[in-house]
Protein backbone atom coordinates (compact mmCIF):
# COMPACT_ATOMS: atom_id res chain seq x y z
CA UNK A 1 0.00 0.00 0.00
CA UNK A 2 2.71 2.45 0.96
CA UNK A 3 4.70 1.57 -2.16
CA UNK A 4 1.57 2.20 -4.24
CA UNK A 5 1.34 5.70 -2.77
CA UNK A 6 4.90 6.45 -3.84
CA UNK A 7 4.41 5.14 -7.38
CA UNK A 8 1.01 6.79 -7.98
CA UNK A 9 1.97 10.16 -6.54
CA UNK A 10 5.20 10.15 -8.54
CA UNK A 11 3.25 9.51 -11.73
CA UNK A 12 0.80 12.27 -10.76
CA UNK A 13 3.71 14.70 -10.39
CA UNK A 14 5.04 13.72 -13.83
CA UNK A 15 1.56 14.35 -15.29
CA UNK A 16 1.44 17.74 -13.54
CA UNK A 17 4.78 18.77 -15.04
CA UNK A 18 3.67 17.66 -18.49
CA UNK A 19 0.47 19.76 -18.22
CA UNK A 20 2.67 22.85 -18.03
CA UNK A 21 5.38 21.64 -20.42
CA UNK A 22 3.25 20.33 -23.30
CA UNK A 23 3.35 22.39 -26.47
CA UNK A 24 -0.18 21.63 -27.63
CA UNK A 25 -3.25 22.53 -25.62
CA UNK A 26 -4.93 19.18 -26.21
CA UNK A 27 -1.88 17.35 -24.83
CA UNK A 28 -2.04 19.49 -21.70
CA UNK A 29 -5.69 18.50 -21.30
CA UNK A 30 -4.90 14.80 -21.68
CA UNK A 31 -2.05 14.97 -19.16
CA UNK A 32 -4.44 16.72 -16.77
CA UNK A 33 -6.92 13.84 -17.18
CA UNK A 34 -4.13 11.43 -16.27
CA UNK A 35 -3.25 13.55 -13.24
CA UNK A 36 -6.86 13.55 -12.05
CA UNK A 37 -7.29 9.78 -12.46
CA UNK A 38 -4.07 9.18 -10.51
CA UNK A 39 -5.32 11.53 -7.80
CA UNK A 40 -8.50 9.47 -7.65
CA UNK A 41 -6.34 6.40 -6.99
CA UNK A 42 -4.64 8.31 -4.17
CA UNK A 43 -8.06 9.18 -2.74
CA UNK A 44 -8.93 5.48 -2.78
CA UNK A 45 -5.74 4.71 -0.87
CA UNK A 46 -6.64 7.47 1.62
CA UNK A 47 -10.00 5.81 2.29
CA UNK A 48 -12.05 8.41 0.41
CA UNK A 49 -13.92 6.14 -1.97
CA UNK A 50 -16.81 8.52 -2.62
CA UNK A 51 -14.46 11.39 -3.37
CA UNK A 52 -12.50 9.15 -5.78
CA UNK A 53 -15.71 8.44 -7.70
CA UNK A 54 -16.60 12.15 -7.65
CA UNK A 55 -13.13 13.00 -8.88
CA UNK A 56 -13.43 10.69 -11.88
CA UNK A 57 -17.05 11.50 -12.73
CA UNK A 58 -17.00 15.29 -12.28
CA UNK A 59 -13.38 16.18 -12.96
CA UNK A 60 -12.25 13.66 -15.56
CA UNK A 61 -15.73 13.09 -16.97
CA UNK A 62 -17.32 16.53 -16.76
CA UNK A 63 -14.82 19.35 -16.49
CA UNK A 64 -12.23 17.84 -18.80
CA UNK A 65 -14.83 16.99 -21.45
CA UNK A 66 -15.83 20.66 -21.33
CA UNK A 67 -12.17 21.62 -21.76
CA UNK A 68 -11.65 19.28 -24.71
CA UNK A 69 -14.89 20.52 -26.26
CA UNK A 70 -13.77 24.14 -26.01
CA UNK A 71 -10.31 23.27 -27.37
CA UNK A 72 -11.93 21.54 -30.35
CA UNK A 73 -14.30 24.48 -30.82
CA UNK A 74 -11.68 27.20 -30.69
CA UNK A 75 -8.73 25.17 -32.05
CA UNK A 76 -6.13 27.58 -30.72
CA UNK A 77 -2.69 27.72 -32.32
CA UNK A 78 -0.66 24.60 -31.78
CA UNK A 79 2.79 26.19 -31.64
CA UNK A 80 4.70 26.63 -28.42
CA UNK A 81 3.47 29.69 -26.59
CA UNK A 82 6.31 30.09 -24.14
CA UNK A 83 8.06 33.30 -25.11
CA UNK A 84 11.58 32.94 -26.42
CA UNK A 85 13.88 35.05 -24.33
CA UNK A 86 17.59 35.55 -24.45
CA UNK A 87 18.23 34.56 -20.83
CA UNK A 88 15.60 31.86 -20.75
CA UNK A 89 17.92 29.28 -19.19
CA UNK A 90 18.66 31.56 -16.26
CA UNK A 91 14.96 32.25 -15.73
CA UNK A 92 14.23 28.52 -15.92
CA UNK A 93 16.76 27.88 -13.18
CA UNK A 94 15.23 30.57 -10.95
CA UNK A 95 11.74 29.11 -11.47
CA UNK A 96 12.95 25.59 -10.77
CA UNK A 97 14.79 26.77 -7.67
CA UNK A 98 11.67 28.52 -6.38
CA UNK A 99 9.57 25.42 -6.98
CA UNK A 100 12.05 23.15 -5.20
CA UNK A 101 12.39 25.63 -2.32
CA UNK A 102 8.65 25.94 -1.68
CA UNK A 103 8.08 22.20 -1.98
CA UNK A 104 11.04 21.44 0.27
CA UNK A 105 9.91 23.97 2.87
CA UNK A 106 6.49 22.37 3.15
CA UNK A 107 8.06 18.91 3.26
CA UNK A 108 10.41 19.90 6.08
CA UNK A 109 7.61 21.54 8.06
CA UNK A 110 5.50 18.42 7.73
CA UNK A 111 8.36 16.09 8.56
CA UNK A 112 10.02 17.91 11.45
CA UNK A 113 7.19 17.73 13.93
CA UNK A 114 5.28 20.93 13.23
CA UNK A 115 2.24 18.87 12.50
CA UNK A 116 3.45 15.35 13.09
CA UNK A 117 4.46 14.02 16.47
CA UNK A 118 7.33 11.60 15.88
CA UNK A 119 7.70 10.68 19.55
CA UNK A 120 4.16 9.50 19.96
CA UNK A 121 3.86 5.73 19.95
CA UNK A 122 0.43 5.89 18.32
CA UNK A 123 1.66 8.17 15.51
CA UNK A 124 -1.09 10.69 16.01
CA UNK A 125 -0.85 14.06 14.35
CA UNK A 126 -0.17 17.02 16.56
CA UNK A 127 -3.16 18.78 15.03
CA UNK A 128 -5.43 16.04 16.30
CA UNK A 129 -4.10 16.36 19.83
CA UNK A 130 -4.38 20.14 19.73
CA UNK A 131 -7.82 19.96 18.17
CA UNK A 132 -9.00 17.64 20.90
CA UNK A 133 -7.47 19.73 23.68
CA UNK A 134 -8.70 23.08 22.41
CA UNK A 135 -12.36 22.22 22.83
CA UNK A 136 -13.28 19.35 25.19
CA UNK A 137 -16.96 19.46 24.24
CA UNK A 138 -18.52 16.26 22.95
CA UNK A 139 -19.37 17.83 19.59
CA UNK A 140 -15.72 18.73 19.00
CA UNK A 141 -14.48 15.29 20.06
CA UNK A 142 -16.85 13.72 17.55
CA UNK A 143 -14.99 15.44 14.69
CA UNK A 144 -12.06 13.10 15.24
CA UNK A 145 -14.05 9.90 15.53
CA UNK A 146 -13.84 8.98 11.85
CA UNK A 147 -11.08 6.39 11.90
CA UNK A 148 -10.79 4.42 8.64
CA UNK A 149 -12.21 1.31 10.30
CA UNK A 150 -15.19 3.17 11.76
CA UNK A 151 -15.96 4.82 8.42
CA UNK A 152 -15.70 1.55 6.53
CA UNK A 153 -17.89 -0.27 9.03
CA UNK A 154 -20.59 2.37 8.62
CA UNK A 155 -20.07 2.76 4.88
CA UNK A 156 -18.08 5.53 3.24
CA UNK A 157 -20.95 7.03 1.23
CA UNK A 158 -23.24 6.87 4.24
CA UNK A 159 -20.73 8.70 6.40
CA UNK A 160 -20.12 11.35 3.74
CA UNK A 161 -23.84 11.86 3.27
CA UNK A 162 -24.62 12.12 6.96
CA UNK A 163 -21.82 14.61 7.55
CA UNK A 164 -22.73 16.63 4.47
CA UNK A 165 -26.36 17.00 5.45
CA UNK A 166 -25.81 17.72 9.13
CA UNK A 167 -22.66 19.65 10.00
CA UNK A 168 -21.99 20.88 6.46
CA UNK A 169 -25.52 21.72 5.39
CA UNK A 170 -24.95 25.47 5.07
CA UNK A 171 -21.82 25.20 2.85
CA UNK A 172 -23.70 22.62 0.80
CA UNK A 173 -26.58 24.99 0.18
CA UNK A 174 -24.20 27.84 -0.62
CA UNK A 175 -22.44 25.72 -3.27
CA UNK A 176 -25.85 24.98 -4.78
CA UNK A 177 -26.44 28.74 -5.09
CA UNK A 178 -22.95 29.17 -6.54
CA UNK A 179 -23.65 26.57 -9.24
CA UNK A 180 -26.91 28.29 -10.13
CA UNK A 181 -25.21 31.69 -10.46
CA UNK A 182 -22.40 30.15 -12.54
CA UNK A 183 -24.86 28.46 -14.90
CA UNK A 184 -26.86 31.67 -15.37
CA UNK A 185 -23.67 33.67 -15.89
CA UNK A 186 -22.34 31.23 -18.50
CA UNK A 187 -25.62 31.26 -20.42
CA UNK A 188 -25.74 35.07 -20.29
CA UNK A 189 -22.17 35.47 -21.53
CA UNK A 190 -22.28 32.98 -24.39
CA UNK A 191 -25.59 33.98 -25.95
CA UNK A 192 -25.54 35.37 -29.50
CA UNK A 193 -25.98 39.06 -30.18
CA UNK A 194 -28.08 39.34 -33.31
CA UNK A 195 -28.45 42.54 -35.22
CA UNK A 196 -31.93 41.88 -36.56
CA UNK A 197 -33.46 41.12 -33.20
CA UNK A 198 -34.22 43.61 -30.46
CA UNK A 199 -31.70 43.55 -27.67
CA UNK A 200 -32.51 41.46 -24.62
CA UNK A 201 -33.65 43.59 -21.73
CA UNK A 202 -30.74 43.94 -19.33
Amino acid sequence: MTVLVWVVSGLALICAVMVVASDKTIYSALWLVGNMVLLAVLFLLLNAQFLAAVQIIIYAGGIMVLFVFIIALLSPGSGTDVEEHKDRGWRFLVGLGTAVFITGAVFLLANNGTTFDKNSSTHTLRGEQLGRLADPSAANQQKFQFTPDAVNAHGNVQTVGETLFTRFLLPFEITALLLLVAAIGAVYMTRHHREDQPAVIR
Binding site: L39, I63, A99, F116
Partner: protein
Protein backbone atom coordinates in the same frame (compact mmCIF):
# COMPACT_ATOMS: atom_id res chain seq x y z
CA UNK B 1 -3.19 0.65 6.33
CA UNK B 2 -0.87 3.38 5.26
CA UNK B 3 2.24 4.05 7.24
CA UNK B 4 1.64 7.50 8.73
CA UNK B 5 5.26 8.33 9.33
CA UNK B 6 6.25 7.69 5.72
CA UNK B 7 3.25 8.61 3.65
CA UNK B 8 1.93 11.70 5.43
CA UNK B 9 4.91 14.01 4.78
CA UNK B 10 5.37 12.53 1.31
CA UNK B 11 1.76 13.20 0.32
CA UNK B 12 1.97 16.75 1.66
CA UNK B 13 5.16 17.26 -0.34
CA UNK B 14 3.42 15.92 -3.46
CA UNK B 15 0.50 18.27 -2.89
CA UNK B 16 2.75 21.28 -2.41
CA UNK B 17 4.80 20.28 -5.46
CA UNK B 18 1.68 20.01 -7.59
CA UNK B 19 0.49 23.38 -6.32
CA UNK B 20 3.83 24.98 -7.15
CA UNK B 21 3.84 23.46 -10.64
CA UNK B 22 0.33 24.79 -11.21
CA UNK B 23 1.27 28.26 -9.97
CA UNK B 24 4.35 28.31 -12.22
CA UNK B 25 2.17 27.22 -15.14
CA UNK B 26 -0.22 30.11 -14.51
CA UNK B 27 2.75 32.46 -14.53
CA UNK B 28 4.61 31.21 -17.61
CA UNK B 29 1.94 29.98 -20.03
CA UNK B 30 0.17 32.49 -22.26
CA UNK B 31 -2.69 30.38 -23.58
CA UNK B 32 -5.71 31.09 -21.33
CA UNK B 33 -6.94 27.51 -21.70
CA UNK B 34 -3.67 26.14 -20.32
CA UNK B 35 -3.77 28.76 -17.58
CA UNK B 36 -7.18 27.43 -16.57
CA UNK B 37 -5.85 23.87 -16.57
CA UNK B 38 -3.04 24.98 -14.27
CA UNK B 39 -5.63 26.49 -11.92
CA UNK B 40 -7.36 23.11 -11.93
CA UNK B 41 -4.01 21.57 -11.06
CA UNK B 42 -3.68 23.88 -8.06
CA UNK B 43 -7.20 23.07 -6.89
CA UNK B 44 -6.43 19.37 -7.22
CA UNK B 45 -3.29 19.78 -5.14
CA UNK B 46 -5.30 21.47 -2.40
CA UNK B 47 -7.83 18.64 -2.60
CA UNK B 48 -5.06 16.12 -2.06
CA UNK B 49 -3.80 18.05 0.98
CA UNK B 50 -7.35 18.23 2.40
CA UNK B 51 -7.94 14.50 2.02
CA UNK B 52 -4.50 13.63 3.37
CA UNK B 53 -4.99 15.72 6.49
CA UNK B 54 -8.53 14.40 6.94
CA UNK B 55 -7.38 10.80 6.68
CA UNK B 56 -4.53 11.09 9.13
CA UNK B 57 -6.53 13.22 11.58
CA UNK B 58 -9.37 10.67 11.61
CA UNK B 59 -11.68 13.46 10.51
CA UNK B 60 -14.29 13.74 7.79
CA UNK B 61 -13.90 17.50 7.32
CA UNK B 62 -11.12 17.16 4.77
CA UNK B 63 -13.26 15.12 2.39
CA UNK B 64 -16.17 17.51 2.86
CA UNK B 65 -14.10 20.53 1.89
CA UNK B 66 -12.60 18.62 -1.03
CA UNK B 67 -16.15 18.09 -2.29
CA UNK B 68 -16.82 21.82 -1.99
CA UNK B 69 -13.61 22.54 -3.91
CA UNK B 70 -14.75 20.23 -6.72
CA UNK B 71 -18.03 22.15 -7.00
CA UNK B 72 -16.26 25.52 -6.95
CA UNK B 73 -13.85 24.28 -9.64
CA UNK B 74 -16.77 23.22 -11.83
CA UNK B 75 -18.43 26.63 -11.48
CA UNK B 76 -15.15 28.43 -12.12
CA UNK B 77 -14.45 26.41 -15.28
CA UNK B 78 -17.93 27.06 -16.66
CA UNK B 79 -17.63 30.83 -16.25
CA UNK B 80 -14.01 30.93 -17.41
CA UNK B 81 -14.63 28.94 -20.56
CA UNK B 82 -17.65 31.11 -21.36
CA UNK B 83 -15.39 34.17 -21.09
CA UNK B 84 -12.74 32.57 -23.33
CA UNK B 85 -15.42 31.69 -25.89
CA UNK B 86 -16.62 35.29 -25.94
CA UNK B 87 -13.07 36.60 -26.34
CA UNK B 88 -12.51 34.20 -29.25
CA UNK B 89 -15.80 35.28 -30.85
CA UNK B 90 -14.78 38.91 -30.69
CA UNK B 91 -11.97 37.98 -33.05
CA UNK B 92 -9.01 38.45 -30.77
CA UNK B 93 -6.04 36.18 -30.35
CA UNK B 94 -6.11 33.92 -27.31
CA UNK B 95 -3.16 35.30 -25.38
CA UNK B 96 -3.30 36.40 -21.77
CA UNK B 97 -0.78 39.19 -22.43
CA UNK B 98 -3.15 40.75 -24.96
CA UNK B 99 -6.14 40.25 -22.68
CA UNK B 100 -4.74 42.06 -19.65
CA UNK B 101 -7.40 44.75 -20.06
CA UNK B 102 -10.94 43.46 -19.75
CA UNK B 103 -12.65 46.49 -21.29
CA UNK B 104 -13.09 47.02 -25.05
Amino acid sequence: MLDTQQTFPWLLAVASGMFTIGALGVLIRRNPLVVFMCIELMLNAVNLAFVTYGHFLNSMDGQMFALMVVVVAAAEVVVGLALITQVFRSGRELDVDDLSEMSE
